[in-house]
Symmetry: C3
Subunit: 160 residues, 3 copies
């Protein structure tokens, strides 16, 4: 059995951003020398996610707009009435005084925790014949919901 670990660090210029990492995961698989197995790709933060979908600007823009309705930020006005009602009932997140990165310039990151829940923070991908065994449109994204500071991700390859 072989295992291999690779860490990545992101400091996105945007507060929220999708970063394509398919090639980085593929490279970790090659480094591992694994021909059959699985690779875990996991954000090490509670305000980020990993998503496998289409690398197409329209869908990424649509998706961020939609996530801002389902999991509305308290640091900007709600997108519409539905987003307002889906926000926290006290008018702001109870998650105020503590948590990752506090104290800091953006104290209220409650929405990023909810986006982490919806998107999920990790994914496991199959390895076949030494390659990521993805469908033709499947790209792997690190999904940053509270960027502008260093954030880590771990890639763990397991197989033979």
């Amino acid at each position: 059995m072989r295992t291999h670990t690779r860490y990545m660090t992101f400091q996105t210029p945007e507060r929220r951003q999708f970063v394509r990492i398919t090639d980085d995961v593929e490279q970790a698989v090659r480094e591992a020398g694994v021909s059959e197995g699985m690779v875990l790709v996991s954000a090490m933060h509670i305000t980020a996610g990993v998503w496998v979908n289409d690398d197409e600007p329209g869908i990424l823009e649509d998706t961020l707009e939609w996530l801002d309705k389902l999991a509305p930020p308290s640091w900007k006005p709600p997108a519409n009435d539905v987003a307002e009602q889906l926000g926290p009932d006290p008018g702001d997140f109870r998650h105020h005084r503590g948590g990752e990165g506090a104290p800091r310039a953006w104290p209220v990151v409650g929405d990023a925790h909810w986006k982490n829940l919806l998107v999920h923070h990790q994914v496991v991908l199959p390895i076949t014949d030494g390659r990521l065994d993805l469908g033709p449109w499947q790209a792997v994204f690190y999904a940053e919901f509270d960027g502008g500071r260093p954030k880590r991700l771990v890639i763990k390859v397991l197989g033979e």
Copy 2:
């Protein structure tokens, strides 16, 4: 260490459909000859998911109705005001010109990408004593959100 890979292809008559695949996954585990390990079940498309839940018609019908509110299609009228407001702001998905399967009869599959995000495209299941180690009500479903054409899924068994 043993590994085993099995592919499945679905062409559902319905545009959206839950297909129970528990027995197929169980069969892949038997084929692998693995008594202890994990099995990854992963849709190879960006408009489908894999869900573990109850094989009960009511909950599946409820869930599809609900997903159509949270991630509203643009190819049919919104279910209600909330669904309308959760749709894309330009009135239709930006994800128009490209993506999986384009050009085709159903150009606008933005909602299927969002359902893929909510349901998640893959699941990892435990193998114990050569069997899927599921609870009594856990069934494995391939969740099709843009069917009527061949779609693939990969099952990857890893263990000993």
Copy 3:
């Protein structure tokens, strides 16, 4: 290759409750004697989930309130208009007569199935140098959405 399996049983006093299990997962990793690998943490029920996030009371309270809007219970009044519209259209869940635990004191657990979908019922965590390889704020929670009775979870360690 080494594998190790541990089961946990929860009987939460509250109907819904987040139970921190990071130390239990860490202990299973130690018992396994695995230094490099992965650990699967998976609820064996269709009305529970596993979430990795911050062990901070505010975010957990915010999140349960929010999940009750996105996936509204039919056993209590909806939180607001949006929650009401996101509920099942027949006025109650079709998922009535059957399913896990029926017949019982709380016959209508449709919302717990939806929360299972949103939160996801399992997670895979990396193991490095014999430890869970989590970020500083990542805690592992069993997320109960229909408690008050015994519920099981499986931890499966795989590695070397």
